[in-house]
Symmetry: C2
Subunit: 116 residues, 2 copies
């Protein structure tokens, strides 16, 4: 297999990161060619602080990676690249992912009623 399938928690984080039009557009732009923050902000047409927030979210989910590089004239530029994620989204795939969810598991383990 190409990559280890994400855990349920990782998958949810990944889907949350991709559930925003701007972030999908960011991924699409970076998939075409890597770019630095200011350049990407101009290309997409949003403010740098806003883009910065979305980039943080995407990187936290492991969908992009940033690297600080020095341009020819000595400027510090942060370039971002998309990672090689490839996830399939289907009922059965989600069923597998759900098995590894760590979020508070309300009434599992046993079906004993807790009260009354």
């Amino acid at each position: 297999m190409t990559a280890s399938p994400p855990t349920g928690d990782e998958l949810v984080d990944m889907l949350a990161a991709l559930s925003h039009p701007l972030r999908v557009r960011i991924i699409a732009s970076l998939a075409a060619r890597r770019n630095y923050v200011s350049g990407l902000a101009r290309e997409i047409g949003i403010s740098r602080p806003l883009l910065h927030m979305h980039l943080r979210r995407l990187e936290a989910a492991g969908l992009i990676v940033g690297a600080l590089e020095l341009s020819d004239d000595g400027k510090a530029m942060k370039y971002y690249d998309v990672t090689d994620f490839d996830v399939r989204l289907s009922p059965s795939a989600l069923a597998e992912a759900a098995a590894t969810l760590t979020t508070a598991d309300p009434g599992k383990g046993s079906h004993t009623k807790e009260q009354s």
Copy 2:
């Protein structure tokens, strides 16, 4: 092909619907077997009103479908089934989806500066 690929907007809605642990768990449970609202609420261990809200979200995204049926003893039960969605999530797939996004396209069309 199995199904027409979702538009960018539909994909974002679908991802937003799946970006919650409870909703992933709901899909997983319904993928194992169809169920009605109250039964599903007991199985997952959450309140019915809360489940109702999540079901609405999932159905709005086209991931599940509900059907009102009558049980043997005449009770009206709303059964839910998962749909046969199957979406691939990769940089190139997102690039295609991004092309059909209808959300306010800040600085596209032409790179002319609007002000200054």
